[in-house]
């Protein structure tokens, strides 16, 4: 019971924080929608853990909790990969900007 209350409180907190960011126009509506749906699903599953058994049966895993665990790992690694790729892209763009500024400044000096 304690873990269910703690996870619910945490999820509500995360959704609240996301909505506040949306109000300040710091994130897109689509991101908020996906993020909120994810945490609503977390609340739902923490109170109805038997629902994960359907997922377990579909994935041919013994327990529902194991199915959620395996899926989480896959999703986390995918998100991590996307994040690294995005960071590398931003890193490259910063370098291009820094280079352009260096060359422009030099050309303006001469």
């Amino acid at each position: 019971m304690t873990i269910q209350i703690l996870v619910t409180l945490f999820s509500v907190l995360v959704i609240g924080k996301a909505l506040s960011k949306f109000q300040k126009k710091e994130v897109h509506g689509k991101t908020i929608l996906v993020w909120s749906l994810f945490w609503i699903a977390v609340i739902f599953l923490i109170w109805q853990p038997n629902l994960t058994d359907y997922l377990a049966a579909f994935l041919q895993v013994t327990r529902g909790a194991d199915a959620v665990f395996y899926l989480s790992i896959v999703v986390i690694f995918y998100l991590l990969f996307r994040m690294v790729a995005k960071l590398e892209k931003i890193d490259g763009e910063i370098t291009t900007l820094v280079r352009e500024i260096a060359l422009l400044k030099k050309n303006n000096d001469t």
């Binding site: 890193d91 490259g92 370098t95 820094v98 280079r99 260096a102 030099k106």
Partner: protein, 224 residues
């Protein structure tokens, strides 16, 4: 031929003046890319007569090399020489380095400290690491060199225009070898003298970084 010597520098105020003076004995076209040094590297380089380009954020040696290369190409460089800022290279080696390009025999000339064992004050750990790096480069790119990570190199204008570097940090050195293979450039190694000092050892790449670069190159290879 219009020879441009290009020096990437980060916090090298102790050595940059002497390095530029040394290079001036060979050519007067010297470009220093000050990679956002926190000391007076840029001012000293300018005072010694080099063209100085400054990165407003530190981006690494690979990024600095690309900045210098773009500038040299835009201003008519025929041969572009990479030279380290920490004083371990010697300008007297530049004529031999660029000679194969001037004779039209090579597109890229790579300096090697192991061809004639022209190296002083190197630690055994460093020597083993450099040999491992050479073996790793051979394994990854298929190009067998005696010294894969020597910062002293020369490129013809055509080679410089074709080579595409994307790595901002030290991994650019391995990427460069990959590019030589990809573009089927004619390359040759020539002996150059490397003098390690306490200063250059302190400034040089750390062993742990070399491992990180190796892992990054494997990762990149797996993705492409």
């Amino acid at each position: 031929m219009n020879i441009w010597v290009f020096i990437a520098a980060y916090n090298e105020e102790q050595t940059i003046g002497a390095v530029i003076n040394d290079v001036k004995t060979v050519t007067s076209t010297i470009v220093v890319v000050d990679d956002c040094s926190r000391d007076h590297t840029g001012e000293i380089a300018r005072a010694h007569g080099a063209v100085v380009l400054r990165h407003i954020i530190n981006r690494g040696k690979g990024a600095a090399i690309r900045t210098g290369t773009e500038y040299a190409l835009a201003h008519g460089g025929d041969v572009i020489v990479h030279f380290d800022a920490d004083g371990q290279h010697h300008a007297k080696d530049i004529p031999a380095l660029i000679a194969p390009i001037e004779r039209g025999e090579a597109d890229v000339v790579l300096g090697s400290r192991f061809l004639q064992d022209s190296i002083t004050n190197i630690s055994n750990t460093r020597k083993v690491l450099l040999k491992l790096g050479t073996f790793f480069t051979w394994w990854m790119s298929g190009i067998r060199l005696t010294d894969a990570h020597n910062g002293m190199r020369a490129f013809s204008r055509v080679a410089t225009e074709r080579i595409v570097l994307t790595e901002d940090r030290f991994a650019y050195a391995s990427e460069l070898i990959d590019e030589i293979r990809r573009l089927k450039l004619r390359y040759v190694e020539v002996p150059v003298t490397i003098t390690y000092t306490d200063y250059s050892r302190q400034k040089g790449q750390r062993s742990v970084n070399a491992i990180a670069i190796g892992l990054k190159m494997i990762w990149k290879k797996l993705l492409t």
